[in-house]
Amino acid sequence: MMSDKEESSAARCYLDEKSFHICCQLFLQHSSVLKDGWSWTEFKGVKEGYMKKTVLIPGRFSSLLNQFWKHKTENMDALVEDQVDDDDEDQAVCENQAVMCYEYHVLYSCSYQVPILYFRASTLDGRLLSLEEVWNNIHPNYRKRLLQGPWDTLTQQEHPLLGQPFFVLHPCCTEEFMRPVLQMAHAKKRKVNYIVTWLSVVGPMVRLEVPLSYCTAVAAPN
């Protein structure tokens, strides 16, 4: 049995569902000011909801393809008149891989009592990226350590509400990295918006930018 003090300390590092909703709404208020694309989705009859955002980001094949694209644009006139041949089609596919479409969803996990980041990625022509391609696009700052993880840090799972395959950063570690920050805040009698702190940590791992203004503009729940 944990003492009262231990219990409340542990509870602080997790997020209850009500607080999840409040933190998200506060987050979304600032998002609407920035117009950076986050929205809230709720299913009728089901109380569960999630935040989502879609972004286009350059892929890691960029350096090779930038050269190619430069050549292409210089020869645009010639291209229009020429018949499309096999070579052009292959190259066209390469071009599309230079920019990827990432769709991020922030859901609440009842079993882990933390938020989870789901995402899926595709090329512009709609091809879903493979697990390997997604790994290649994990930010280099984290890739080595994530790869070393003894459990499946990045897995493909069914979206709990949409039933479609998404990639997920495993939530088992969330409490571990949130705990020291939340305990420090509590010790200093500061309030923290769990979603802002959590997303600022996990977002960049999977190329999701969280602008600095979220740091000061978003309130914490009471």
């Binding site: 993880g149 920050v181 305990q183 200093k188 500061r190 702190t197 960049p204 600095l212 740091c215």
Partner: protein
């Protein structure tokens, strides 16, 4: 930033010399703008405390580069990830330049950064 970039240097500035260099900057303008900013590193949780906490860091240095520097300095295990926070609870992007963080969150001529090691996923 590559590993061959200049390492942060320890700063021995005290209050009076800081004020003096600010006055100099005022007179000579943009050309004299300090290329380095003062950073104060604070440990969070079980993370080891750095013996030297004050560092002069190039403005263009990224958060990732600084995290690597701190990790090496603290001799962290390869499985340990270092997270850096501004304003005590926000992790800036690893590609963010410390100069920008200083402009946004610096006070009293320095940028306070909290750092925390984690075994998460490691």
């Amino acid at each position: 930033m590559s590993d061959s970039a200049e390492s942060p240097t320890e700063t021995q500035k005290d209050e009076s010399s800081s004020q003096q260099s600010s006055a100099d900057t005022g007179e000579t303008g943009a050309a004299e703008e300090k290329k380095k900013i003062d950073v104060l590193l604070k440990a969070v949780g079980d993370t080891p405390i750095m013996k030297t906490k004050k560092w002069a860091v190039e403005r263009g240095r990224t958060v990732q580069s600084l995290a690597q520097f701190i990790s090496r300095f603290l001799k962290l295990e390869p499985s340990e990830q270092l997270f850096i926070y501004v304003n005590q609870s926000f992790a800036p992007s690893p590609d963010q330049e410390v100069g920008v963080l200083f402009e946004c969150f610096g006070s009293d001529g320095k940028l306070v950064l909290h750092y925390c090691k984690s075994q998460a996923w490691g």
